[in-house]
Protein backbone atom coordinates (compact mmCIF):
# COMPACT_ATOMS: atom_id res chain seq x y z
CA UNK A 1 0.00 0.00 0.00
CA UNK A 2 1.66 3.27 -1.02
CA UNK A 3 2.37 5.77 1.70
CA UNK A 4 0.35 9.01 1.38
CA UNK A 5 2.78 11.78 2.19
CA UNK A 6 1.07 14.96 0.98
CA UNK A 7 -0.24 16.02 4.39
CA UNK A 8 3.18 15.58 5.95
CA UNK A 9 4.86 17.76 3.37
CA UNK A 10 2.37 20.57 3.95
CA UNK A 11 3.73 21.08 7.52
CA UNK A 12 7.43 21.04 6.76
CA UNK A 13 9.76 23.74 5.47
CA UNK A 14 10.04 23.76 1.70
CA UNK A 15 13.27 23.38 -0.24
CA UNK A 16 13.49 27.15 -0.70
CA UNK A 17 12.91 27.76 3.01
CA UNK A 18 15.46 25.17 4.07
CA UNK A 19 18.17 26.46 1.72
CA UNK A 20 17.53 30.01 2.95
CA UNK A 21 17.71 28.89 6.58
CA UNK A 22 20.88 26.81 6.04
CA UNK A 23 23.01 28.70 3.49
CA UNK A 24 26.10 26.72 4.51
CA UNK A 25 24.62 23.64 2.81
CA UNK A 26 24.71 23.96 -0.99
CA UNK A 27 21.33 24.17 -2.66
CA UNK A 28 22.27 21.36 -5.04
CA UNK A 29 22.85 19.00 -2.10
CA UNK A 30 19.61 20.08 -0.42
CA UNK A 31 17.84 19.37 -3.69
CA UNK A 32 19.44 15.93 -3.93
CA UNK A 33 18.27 15.13 -0.41
CA UNK A 34 14.72 16.19 -1.16
CA UNK A 35 14.61 14.22 -4.40
CA UNK A 36 15.76 11.14 -2.51
CA UNK A 37 13.13 11.75 0.17
CA UNK A 38 10.26 12.17 -2.23
CA UNK A 39 11.34 10.12 -5.23
CA UNK A 40 10.79 10.94 -8.88
CA UNK A 41 8.24 10.38 -11.59
CA UNK A 42 9.36 10.45 -15.23
CA UNK A 43 7.01 11.98 -17.76
CA UNK A 44 6.54 10.25 -21.08
CA UNK A 45 8.44 13.10 -22.73
CA UNK A 46 11.37 12.51 -20.40
CA UNK A 47 11.32 8.79 -21.01
CA UNK A 48 11.38 9.39 -24.76
CA UNK A 49 14.98 10.59 -24.36
CA UNK A 50 16.12 7.43 -22.58
CA UNK A 51 18.32 5.37 -24.84
CA UNK A 52 19.09 1.91 -23.53
CA UNK A 53 22.15 1.72 -25.77
CA UNK A 54 23.61 4.78 -23.99
CA UNK A 55 22.01 5.13 -20.60
CA UNK A 56 22.28 2.95 -17.53
CA UNK A 57 18.93 1.51 -16.57
CA UNK A 58 17.96 -0.10 -13.29
CA UNK A 59 19.35 -3.58 -12.85
CA UNK A 60 20.77 -5.74 -10.11
CA UNK A 61 20.67 -4.03 -6.74
CA UNK A 62 20.75 -5.17 -3.17
CA UNK A 63 17.57 -3.34 -2.13
CA UNK A 64 14.19 -2.90 -3.72
CA UNK A 65 12.52 0.23 -5.00
CA UNK A 66 9.68 2.49 -3.96
CA UNK A 67 7.41 1.32 -6.74
CA UNK A 68 8.18 -2.35 -5.99
CA UNK A 69 8.89 -2.97 -9.65
CA UNK A 70 11.94 -3.80 -11.74
CA UNK A 71 10.93 -1.71 -14.73
CA UNK A 72 13.81 -0.56 -16.96
CA UNK A 73 13.93 3.09 -15.92
CA UNK A 74 17.02 5.26 -15.43
CA UNK A 75 19.18 4.15 -12.54
CA UNK A 76 20.14 7.62 -11.44
CA UNK A 77 20.26 11.29 -12.21
CA UNK A 78 23.39 13.44 -12.41
CA UNK A 79 23.41 17.10 -11.39
CA UNK A 80 25.64 19.70 -13.05
CA UNK A 81 28.13 19.70 -10.17
CA UNK A 82 28.79 15.96 -10.59
CA UNK A 83 26.49 14.92 -7.74
CA UNK A 84 24.53 11.72 -8.32
CA UNK A 85 20.98 11.20 -7.19
CA UNK A 86 20.18 7.52 -6.82
CA UNK A 87 16.43 7.61 -6.76
CA UNK A 88 13.46 5.38 -7.41
CA UNK A 89 10.47 5.93 -9.63
CA UNK A 90 7.66 6.74 -7.24
CA UNK A 91 3.86 6.62 -7.56
CA UNK A 92 2.37 10.06 -8.21
CA UNK A 93 0.18 9.98 -5.11
CA UNK A 94 3.38 10.12 -3.03
CA UNK A 95 4.17 13.60 -4.37
CA UNK A 96 7.48 12.89 -6.12
CA UNK A 97 9.58 15.35 -8.07
CA UNK A 98 8.90 15.26 -11.79
CA UNK A 99 11.61 14.59 -14.36
CA UNK A 100 10.44 16.23 -17.56
CA UNK A 101 11.77 17.55 -20.83
CA UNK A 102 12.14 21.35 -20.72
CA UNK A 103 13.40 23.13 -23.85
CA UNK A 104 14.73 19.85 -25.11
CA UNK A 105 16.70 19.07 -21.97
CA UNK A 106 15.97 16.73 -19.08
CA UNK A 107 15.05 18.66 -15.98
CA UNK A 108 13.93 18.24 -12.40
CA UNK A 109 10.70 20.11 -11.82
CA UNK A 110 8.32 20.54 -8.92
CA UNK A 111 4.84 21.96 -9.10
CA UNK A 112 5.53 22.98 -12.70
CA UNK A 113 8.66 24.95 -11.76
CA UNK A 114 12.01 24.21 -13.38
CA UNK A 115 14.64 23.44 -10.76
CA UNK A 116 17.73 22.00 -12.37
CA UNK A 117 18.88 20.40 -15.56
CA UNK A 118 19.85 16.75 -15.07
CA UNK A 119 21.63 14.05 -17.02
CA UNK A 120 21.38 10.29 -16.90
CA UNK A 121 24.21 7.95 -16.05
CA UNK A 122 25.97 6.58 -19.06
CA UNK A 123 26.05 2.81 -19.39
CA UNK A 124 29.55 1.34 -19.15
CA UNK A 125 30.84 -0.67 -22.09
CA UNK A 126 30.96 -3.97 -20.19
CA UNK A 127 27.19 -3.93 -19.61
CA UNK A 128 26.71 -5.35 -23.10
CA UNK A 129 29.02 -8.29 -22.45
CA UNK A 130 28.38 -11.76 -21.06
CA UNK A 131 30.66 -13.90 -18.91
CA UNK A 132 32.02 -17.17 -20.29
CA UNK A 133 29.42 -18.94 -18.13
CA UNK A 134 26.64 -17.05 -19.89
CA UNK A 135 25.65 -14.48 -17.28
CA UNK A 136 25.15 -10.86 -18.42
CA UNK A 137 27.98 -8.93 -16.85
CA UNK A 138 25.59 -6.19 -15.71
CA UNK A 139 24.07 -8.75 -13.34
CA UNK A 140 27.46 -9.70 -11.93
CA UNK A 141 28.87 -6.23 -11.27
CA UNK A 142 26.83 -3.04 -11.37
CA UNK A 143 28.25 0.40 -12.06
CA UNK A 144 28.05 3.85 -10.63
CA UNK A 145 29.64 6.77 -12.49
CA UNK A 146 33.00 5.98 -10.97
CA UNK A 147 32.57 2.75 -8.97
CA UNK A 148 32.03 -0.94 -9.54
CA UNK A 149 29.55 -2.66 -7.19
CA UNK A 150 29.68 -6.33 -6.41
CA UNK A 151 26.57 -7.58 -4.60
CA UNK A 152 27.97 -11.03 -4.18
CA UNK A 153 25.08 -12.56 -2.32
CA UNK A 154 21.61 -11.21 -1.87
CA UNK A 155 20.34 -13.38 0.96
CA UNK A 156 20.50 -12.20 4.56
CA UNK A 157 20.56 -14.85 7.26
CA UNK A 158 18.90 -12.63 9.81
CA UNK A 159 15.74 -13.01 7.73
CA UNK A 160 15.89 -16.79 8.08
CA UNK A 161 14.85 -16.41 11.72
CA UNK A 162 12.54 -13.50 11.03
CA UNK A 163 15.07 -11.13 12.59
CA UNK A 164 15.83 -8.97 9.59
CA UNK A 165 16.23 -5.20 10.00
CA UNK A 166 12.79 -3.60 9.93
CA UNK A 167 13.66 -1.01 7.24
CA UNK A 168 15.23 -3.61 4.92
CA UNK A 169 13.72 -5.46 1.94
CA UNK A 170 16.80 -7.37 0.79
CA UNK A 171 15.19 -10.80 0.71
CA UNK A 172 11.91 -9.63 -0.81
CA UNK A 173 13.86 -7.89 -3.52
CA UNK A 174 16.17 -10.85 -4.08
CA UNK A 175 13.18 -13.10 -4.67
CA UNK A 176 11.79 -10.66 -7.21
CA UNK A 177 15.15 -10.20 -8.99
CA UNK A 178 15.65 -13.92 -9.25
CA UNK A 179 12.17 -14.50 -10.62
CA UNK A 180 12.00 -11.59 -13.07
CA UNK A 181 15.60 -11.03 -14.15
CA UNK A 182 17.20 -14.36 -13.26
CA UNK A 183 19.89 -12.56 -11.31
CA UNK A 184 21.96 -15.14 -9.43
CA UNK A 185 21.60 -15.15 -5.66
CA UNK A 186 25.26 -15.99 -5.17
CA UNK A 187 28.07 -14.93 -7.50
CA UNK A 188 30.81 -17.12 -8.83
CA UNK A 189 34.32 -15.64 -8.30
CA UNK A 190 35.31 -16.50 -11.87
CA UNK A 191 32.37 -14.48 -13.25
CA UNK A 192 33.37 -11.59 -11.00
CA UNK A 193 36.99 -11.67 -12.12
CA UNK A 194 36.00 -11.74 -15.79
CA UNK A 195 33.58 -8.87 -15.38
CA UNK A 196 36.05 -6.68 -13.49
CA UNK A 197 38.65 -7.38 -16.17
CA UNK A 198 36.24 -6.28 -18.87
CA UNK A 199 35.19 -3.16 -16.91
CA UNK A 200 38.79 -2.02 -16.49
CA UNK A 201 39.24 -1.87 -20.24
CA UNK A 202 37.27 1.40 -20.25
CA UNK A 203 39.84 4.08 -19.39
CA UNK A 204 38.85 6.82 -16.97
CA UNK A 205 35.61 5.19 -15.99
CA UNK A 206 36.14 3.70 -12.55
CA UNK A 207 38.01 4.75 -9.41
CA UNK A 208 36.85 2.21 -6.83
CA UNK A 209 35.27 -1.15 -6.12
CA UNK A 210 32.65 -1.89 -3.49
CA UNK A 211 31.51 -5.24 -2.21
CA UNK A 212 28.47 -5.88 -0.07
CA UNK A 213 25.99 -8.63 0.58
CA UNK A 214 23.45 -9.89 3.04
CA UNK A 215 24.76 -11.24 6.34
CA UNK A 216 25.97 -14.81 6.64
CA UNK A 217 26.18 -15.79 10.29
CA UNK A 218 27.45 -19.32 9.66
CA UNK A 219 30.91 -20.66 10.50
CA UNK A 220 33.02 -21.92 13.34
CA UNK A 221 33.00 -18.35 14.57
CA UNK A 222 30.17 -15.98 13.80
CA UNK A 223 30.50 -14.60 10.21
CA UNK A 224 33.40 -16.93 9.28
CA UNK A 225 31.68 -18.12 6.11
CA UNK A 226 30.84 -14.57 5.10
CA UNK A 227 34.50 -13.59 5.50
CA UNK A 228 35.66 -16.65 3.58
CA UNK A 229 33.40 -15.77 0.66
CA UNK A 230 34.53 -12.12 0.66
CA UNK A 231 38.17 -13.23 0.59
CA UNK A 232 37.41 -15.50 -2.34
CA UNK A 233 35.69 -12.72 -4.28
CA UNK A 234 38.33 -10.10 -3.40
CA UNK A 235 41.14 -12.38 -4.51
CA UNK A 236 39.29 -12.92 -7.78
CA UNK A 237 39.00 -9.14 -8.18
CA UNK A 238 42.68 -8.73 -7.32
CA UNK A 239 43.69 -10.92 -10.28
CA UNK A 240 42.99 -7.90 -12.46
CA UNK A 241 45.45 -5.51 -10.79
CA UNK A 242 49.20 -5.34 -10.87
CA UNK A 243 49.29 -3.68 -7.44
CA UNK A 244 48.66 -5.68 -4.29
CA UNK A 245 46.12 -3.18 -2.99
CA UNK A 246 43.37 -1.54 -5.02
CA UNK A 247 40.88 1.21 -4.02
CA UNK A 248 38.05 -0.76 -2.46
CA UNK A 249 35.36 -0.84 0.19
CA UNK A 250 33.76 -3.81 1.84
CA UNK A 251 30.42 -3.23 3.56
CA UNK A 252 30.06 -6.31 5.73
CA UNK A 253 29.05 -7.61 9.10
CA UNK A 254 30.78 -6.73 12.37
CA UNK A 255 33.84 -8.91 11.86
CA UNK A 256 36.25 -9.51 14.72
CA UNK A 257 39.90 -8.54 14.60
CA UNK A 258 41.10 -11.94 13.41
CA UNK A 259 38.63 -11.84 10.52
CA UNK A 260 39.52 -8.26 9.65
CA UNK A 261 43.22 -9.03 9.71
CA UNK A 262 42.62 -11.89 7.27
CA UNK A 263 40.70 -9.60 4.95
CA UNK A 264 43.41 -6.96 5.07
CA UNK A 265 46.37 -9.32 4.74
CA UNK A 266 44.97 -11.78 2.23
CA UNK A 267 43.27 -9.40 -0.19
CA UNK A 268 43.69 -5.99 -1.84
CA UNK A 269 40.97 -4.42 0.32
CA UNK A 270 41.70 -0.87 1.51
CA UNK A 271 38.65 0.16 3.54
CA UNK A 272 35.99 -1.39 5.71
CA UNK A 273 32.45 -0.43 6.59
CA UNK A 274 30.00 -2.16 8.87
CA UNK A 275 26.62 -0.55 9.31
CA UNK A 276 25.16 0.22 12.72
CA UNK A 277 22.02 1.44 10.88
CA UNK A 278 20.79 3.52 13.84
CA UNK A 279 22.98 5.23 16.45
CA UNK A 280 20.94 4.37 19.51
CA UNK A 281 21.22 1.16 21.50
CA UNK A 282 17.56 0.93 22.45
CA UNK A 283 16.38 1.52 18.88
CA UNK A 284 19.05 -0.82 17.50
CA UNK A 285 17.55 -3.63 19.55
CA UNK A 286 14.10 -2.93 18.10
CA UNK A 287 14.98 -2.10 14.47
CA UNK A 288 17.85 -4.57 13.98
CA UNK A 289 16.87 -7.57 16.14
CA UNK A 290 19.18 -10.00 14.37
CA UNK A 291 22.23 -7.74 14.67
CA UNK A 292 21.36 -7.00 18.30
CA UNK A 293 21.00 -10.68 19.15
CA UNK A 294 24.18 -11.91 17.43
CA UNK A 295 26.57 -9.06 18.23
CA UNK A 296 24.87 -6.28 20.16
CA UNK A 297 25.19 -2.53 19.82
CA UNK A 298 28.17 -1.96 22.12
CA UNK A 299 30.21 -4.80 20.67
CA UNK A 300 29.37 -3.60 17.15
CA UNK A 301 30.77 -0.21 18.10
CA UNK A 302 33.84 -1.80 19.67
CA UNK A 303 34.53 -3.82 16.54
CA UNK A 304 34.26 -0.69 14.43
CA UNK A 305 36.76 1.08 16.63
CA UNK A 306 39.17 -1.84 16.53
CA UNK A 307 38.90 -1.92 12.73
CA UNK A 308 40.74 1.39 12.66
CA UNK A 309 43.88 -0.34 13.99
CA UNK A 310 43.83 -2.60 10.96
CA UNK A 311 42.58 -0.39 8.13
CA UNK A 312 43.73 2.97 9.45
CA UNK A 313 42.06 6.26 10.19
CA UNK A 314 39.96 7.52 7.29
CA UNK A 315 39.38 3.98 6.04
CA UNK A 316 36.67 2.76 8.42
CA UNK A 317 33.05 3.80 8.34
CA UNK A 318 29.60 2.93 9.50
CA UNK A 319 26.38 3.58 7.63
CA UNK A 320 23.10 4.63 9.13
CA UNK A 321 19.62 4.74 7.71
CA UNK A 322 19.04 8.43 8.28
CA UNK A 323 15.65 9.16 9.79
CA UNK A 324 14.83 5.62 10.91
CA UNK A 325 15.50 6.80 14.46
CA UNK A 326 12.14 8.57 14.15
CA UNK A 327 10.21 5.41 13.22
CA UNK A 328 7.03 4.90 15.18
CA UNK A 329 6.06 3.82 17.75
CA UNK A 330 9.36 3.48 19.61
CA UNK A 331 11.56 6.01 17.82
CA UNK A 332 12.26 9.62 18.77
CA UNK A 333 9.18 11.81 18.58
CA UNK A 334 11.13 15.02 18.26
CA UNK A 335 13.53 15.69 15.36
CA UNK A 336 15.71 17.98 17.44
CA UNK A 337 16.26 15.28 20.03
CA UNK A 338 16.85 12.62 17.36
CA UNK A 339 19.45 14.77 15.63
CA UNK A 340 21.24 15.65 18.84
CA UNK A 341 21.38 12.03 19.94
CA UNK A 342 22.54 10.74 16.57
CA UNK A 343 25.31 13.30 16.20
CA UNK A 344 26.47 12.67 19.76
CA UNK A 345 27.00 9.00 19.00
CA UNK A 346 28.58 9.81 15.65
CA UNK A 347 31.03 12.10 17.42
CA UNK A 348 31.97 9.33 19.83
CA UNK A 349 32.81 7.14 16.84
CA UNK A 350 34.65 9.95 15.06
CA UNK A 351 36.80 10.50 18.13
CA UNK A 352 38.02 6.94 17.63
CA UNK A 353 38.62 7.33 13.92
CA UNK A 354 35.35 5.89 12.61
CA UNK A 355 33.36 8.02 10.19
CA UNK A 356 29.54 7.86 9.97
CA UNK A 357 27.67 8.22 6.69
CA UNK A 358 23.92 8.19 6.05
CA UNK A 359 21.44 7.32 3.39
CA UNK A 360 18.02 8.92 3.21
CA UNK A 361 15.57 6.39 4.60
CA UNK A 362 12.97 5.43 2.02
CA UNK A 363 10.24 3.19 3.52
CA UNK A 364 10.12 0.43 0.96
CA UNK A 365 7.04 -1.67 0.11
CA UNK A 366 8.91 -4.92 0.77
CA UNK A 367 10.02 -3.93 4.27
CA UNK A 368 8.34 -4.17 7.65
CA UNK A 369 8.42 -0.35 7.86
CA UNK A 370 6.56 0.08 4.57
CA UNK A 371 3.84 2.28 6.11
CA UNK A 372 6.21 4.61 7.92
CA UNK A 373 7.34 8.03 6.74
CA UNK A 374 10.80 9.51 6.59
CA UNK A 375 12.03 12.68 8.25
CA UNK A 376 11.73 16.30 7.13
CA UNK A 377 14.06 17.83 4.58
CA UNK A 378 15.49 20.11 7.23
CA UNK A 379 16.34 17.13 9.42
CA UNK A 380 18.31 15.49 6.64
CA UNK A 381 20.06 18.72 5.68
CA UNK A 382 21.15 19.28 9.29
CA UNK A 383 22.21 15.64 9.59
CA UNK A 384 24.34 15.97 6.46
CA UNK A 385 26.03 19.12 7.72
CA UNK A 386 26.45 17.62 11.19
CA UNK A 387 28.21 14.49 9.97
CA UNK A 388 30.35 16.52 7.57
CA UNK A 389 31.32 18.87 10.40
CA UNK A 390 32.46 15.90 12.47
CA UNK A 391 34.75 14.83 9.66
CA UNK A 392 36.19 18.34 9.55
CA UNK A 393 36.62 18.44 13.34
CA UNK A 394 38.30 15.06 13.58
CA UNK A 395 40.15 15.28 10.29
CA UNK A 396 38.55 12.14 8.88
CA UNK A 397 38.71 11.44 5.17
CA UNK A 398 35.95 9.44 3.52
CA UNK A 399 37.20 9.11 -0.05
CA UNK A 400 36.14 5.44 -0.10
CA UNK A 401 32.47 6.41 0.24
CA UNK A 402 32.15 9.88 -1.27
CA UNK A 403 30.31 11.52 -4.16
CA UNK A 404 32.50 9.89 -6.74
CA UNK A 405 32.79 6.39 -5.26
CA UNK A 406 29.23 6.02 -3.96
CA UNK A 407 26.99 9.02 -4.62
CA UNK A 408 24.27 7.86 -2.24
CA UNK A 409 25.25 9.83 0.89
CA UNK A 410 24.35 13.52 0.97
CA UNK A 411 26.78 14.06 3.84
CA UNK A 412 29.77 12.64 2.02
CA UNK A 413 28.89 14.70 -1.06
CA UNK A 414 30.14 17.57 1.10
CA UNK A 415 33.49 15.85 1.61
CA UNK A 416 34.69 17.31 -1.69
CA UNK A 417 35.62 20.25 0.50
CA UNK A 418 37.76 18.22 2.91
Amino acid sequence: MPVALNSRFAEELTLTEVTAKHPEVPRLICLKIDVQRRGVHYTERALSTVDETLHQLRGAYIFGSRDASLSPLPESLLLRDGTSILVDPTPLDQNPYIVDLVDGRLALTDGGDFLEEVELWQKPAYYDQTTSSGIPMKYVVTARPQRLNIFQSSFCHYWANDKGCLFCDIVTHQTQQRAELRIPIRLNPKDVSETIGEALKEPGRFTGICLTAGTDIRGEELFDQEVEYYIEILQAVGENFRTRKFPSQLIGSAFNERQLARLYDQTGLTSFTTDLEVLNERLFAWICPGKAEKVGYQEWKNRLIRSVDIFGRGNVGTGIVGGVELATPYGFTDEEEALRSTLEEAEDLARHGVTTVYIVWVPRPGSFFRSQRNASLEYYVRLAWGLHSLRVKYNLAVAFDDYRRCGNHPDTDLSRLL
Partner: protein, 164 residues
Protein backbone atom coordinates in the same frame (compact mmCIF):
# COMPACT_ATOMS: atom_id res chain seq x y z
CA UNK B 1 25.38 37.02 -17.58
CA UNK B 2 27.61 35.10 -20.02
CA UNK B 3 29.62 37.06 -22.58
CA UNK B 4 31.31 36.13 -25.82
CA UNK B 5 35.09 36.25 -25.76
CA UNK B 6 36.63 38.48 -28.38
CA UNK B 7 38.96 37.06 -31.02
CA UNK B 8 42.19 38.29 -29.44
CA UNK B 9 41.29 36.65 -26.13
CA UNK B 10 40.37 33.38 -27.81
CA UNK B 11 43.67 33.34 -29.69
CA UNK B 12 45.56 33.95 -26.48
CA UNK B 13 43.65 31.15 -24.76
CA UNK B 14 44.37 28.72 -27.55
CA UNK B 15 48.10 29.53 -27.73
CA UNK B 16 50.10 26.84 -25.94
CA UNK B 17 52.79 29.42 -25.06
CA UNK B 18 50.33 31.55 -23.08
CA UNK B 19 50.72 31.41 -19.31
CA UNK B 20 47.35 30.78 -17.69
CA UNK B 21 46.60 31.45 -14.03
CA UNK B 22 43.46 30.32 -12.25
CA UNK B 23 42.47 32.33 -9.20
CA UNK B 24 39.84 31.05 -6.81
CA UNK B 25 38.73 31.88 -3.29
CA UNK B 26 38.69 29.54 -0.30
CA UNK B 27 36.18 29.22 2.52
CA UNK B 28 37.81 32.06 4.43
CA UNK B 29 37.82 34.40 1.47
CA UNK B 30 41.55 34.03 0.84
CA UNK B 31 42.61 34.01 -2.80
CA UNK B 32 44.43 31.06 -4.30
CA UNK B 33 46.16 31.62 -7.64
CA UNK B 34 47.99 28.89 -9.55
CA UNK B 35 49.28 28.32 -13.04
CA UNK B 36 46.98 25.94 -14.89
CA UNK B 37 47.91 25.32 -18.49
CA UNK B 38 44.90 23.16 -19.22
CA UNK B 39 42.40 25.86 -20.21
CA UNK B 40 40.69 25.71 -23.57
CA UNK B 41 37.65 27.17 -25.26
CA UNK B 42 34.54 25.02 -25.32
CA UNK B 43 32.23 24.73 -28.30
CA UNK B 44 29.64 26.79 -26.48
CA UNK B 45 32.07 29.67 -25.86
CA UNK B 46 32.65 28.75 -22.21
CA UNK B 47 36.04 28.05 -20.73
CA UNK B 48 36.98 24.43 -20.21
CA UNK B 49 39.42 23.67 -17.43
CA UNK B 50 40.85 20.21 -16.96
CA UNK B 51 41.52 19.72 -13.26
CA UNK B 52 43.98 16.91 -12.76
CA UNK B 53 43.97 16.77 -8.97
CA UNK B 54 40.89 15.91 -6.91
CA UNK B 55 42.68 17.09 -3.78
CA UNK B 56 43.90 20.44 -5.10
CA UNK B 57 42.85 23.66 -3.40
CA UNK B 58 41.74 24.96 -6.76
CA UNK B 59 39.41 22.01 -7.21
CA UNK B 60 37.87 22.46 -3.77
CA UNK B 61 37.44 26.18 -4.41
CA UNK B 62 35.81 25.48 -7.75
CA UNK B 63 33.36 23.24 -5.90
CA UNK B 64 32.69 26.12 -3.50
CA UNK B 65 32.24 28.32 -6.53
CA UNK B 66 29.60 26.15 -8.16
CA UNK B 67 27.85 25.52 -4.86
CA UNK B 68 27.73 29.08 -3.61
CA UNK B 69 27.71 30.97 -6.91
CA UNK B 70 31.17 32.46 -6.49
CA UNK B 71 33.36 33.83 -9.23
CA UNK B 72 36.79 32.71 -10.30
CA UNK B 73 39.25 34.39 -12.62
CA UNK B 74 41.59 33.23 -15.33
CA UNK B 75 44.53 35.44 -16.26
CA UNK B 76 46.23 34.97 -19.61
CA UNK B 77 49.74 36.29 -20.30
CA UNK B 78 51.01 36.08 -23.84
CA UNK B 79 54.11 37.34 -25.63
CA UNK B 80 55.04 40.98 -25.17
CA UNK B 81 52.69 42.72 -22.82
CA UNK B 82 49.51 41.05 -24.04
CA UNK B 83 47.39 39.99 -21.09
CA UNK B 84 43.70 39.49 -20.30
CA UNK B 85 41.76 38.55 -17.20
CA UNK B 86 38.52 36.63 -17.61
CA UNK B 87 36.11 36.55 -14.68
CA UNK B 88 33.44 33.92 -14.61
CA UNK B 89 31.51 31.32 -12.68
CA UNK B 90 32.01 27.54 -12.60
CA UNK B 91 28.71 26.18 -13.88
CA UNK B 92 29.40 22.51 -14.45
CA UNK B 93 31.72 19.78 -13.21
CA UNK B 94 31.90 16.73 -15.42
CA UNK B 95 33.29 13.66 -13.66
CA UNK B 96 32.05 10.87 -15.91
CA UNK B 97 30.56 10.27 -19.33
CA UNK B 98 31.73 10.71 -22.92
CA UNK B 99 33.03 14.30 -22.52
CA UNK B 100 35.07 13.29 -19.48
CA UNK B 101 36.40 10.18 -21.20
CA UNK B 102 37.49 12.12 -24.26
CA UNK B 103 39.47 14.60 -22.17
CA UNK B 104 40.87 11.81 -19.97
CA UNK B 105 42.38 10.10 -23.01
CA UNK B 106 43.76 13.36 -24.46
CA UNK B 107 45.33 14.41 -21.18
CA UNK B 108 47.05 11.09 -20.79
CA UNK B 109 48.27 11.21 -24.39
CA UNK B 110 49.78 14.62 -23.74
CA UNK B 111 51.11 14.20 -20.19
CA UNK B 112 51.61 10.47 -19.66
CA UNK B 113 50.38 8.53 -16.63
CA UNK B 114 48.22 11.18 -14.98
CA UNK B 115 44.61 11.20 -13.90
CA UNK B 116 41.79 13.63 -14.50
CA UNK B 117 39.58 14.66 -11.59
CA UNK B 118 37.04 16.79 -13.40
CA UNK B 119 36.29 18.81 -16.51
CA UNK B 120 35.17 22.21 -15.25
CA UNK B 121 33.04 24.50 -17.36
CA UNK B 122 33.45 28.18 -16.50
CA UNK B 123 31.03 30.71 -17.94
CA UNK B 124 32.83 33.99 -18.70
CA UNK B 125 31.08 37.12 -17.43
CA UNK B 126 33.70 39.82 -17.77
CA UNK B 127 36.94 40.32 -19.65
CA UNK B 128 39.51 42.91 -18.58
CA UNK B 129 42.42 43.90 -20.81
CA UNK B 130 45.38 43.74 -18.42
CA UNK B 131 48.03 44.43 -21.08
CA UNK B 132 50.38 47.11 -19.75
CA UNK B 133 50.05 49.36 -22.77
CA UNK B 134 46.27 49.17 -22.69
CA UNK B 135 46.11 49.87 -18.98
CA UNK B 136 48.51 52.76 -19.28
CA UNK B 137 46.47 54.34 -22.07
CA UNK B 138 43.26 53.80 -20.13
CA UNK B 139 44.58 55.38 -16.98
CA UNK B 140 46.12 58.34 -18.71
CA UNK B 141 42.97 59.03 -20.66
CA UNK B 142 40.56 58.78 -17.78
CA UNK B 143 42.46 59.48 -14.59
CA UNK B 144 43.87 63.00 -14.55
CA UNK B 145 44.85 62.80 -10.89
CA UNK B 146 46.70 59.50 -11.08
CA UNK B 147 49.99 60.82 -12.39
CA UNK B 148 52.77 62.52 -10.43
CA UNK B 149 53.17 66.20 -11.13
CA UNK B 150 56.85 65.93 -11.97
CA UNK B 151 55.81 64.08 -15.08
CA UNK B 152 54.07 67.16 -16.36
CA UNK B 153 56.18 69.82 -14.66
CA UNK B 154 57.54 72.71 -16.72
CA UNK B 155 61.05 73.01 -15.32
CA UNK B 156 62.83 76.34 -15.85
CA UNK B 157 65.04 76.35 -18.97
CA UNK B 158 63.66 73.08 -20.18
CA UNK B 159 61.46 72.72 -23.18
CA UNK B 160 57.96 71.41 -22.48
CA UNK B 161 57.83 67.67 -22.96
CA UNK B 162 55.06 66.21 -24.90
CA UNK B 163 52.88 64.32 -22.48
CA UNK B 164 52.56 60.78 -23.74
Amino acid sequence: MAIELQKEVVELLQDSETVKVLATVDEKGFPHAVIKQSFELGEDGNLVHLELFESSRSNKNLVRGIWHNRKVSVTLKGKGDLSYQIKGRPIKSIIAGPVFNEHYLRVRERLGDVGLAAVWIIEPEEVINESFSARLAEEQAAQVFCGHLDRIAQLSGARPETRQ
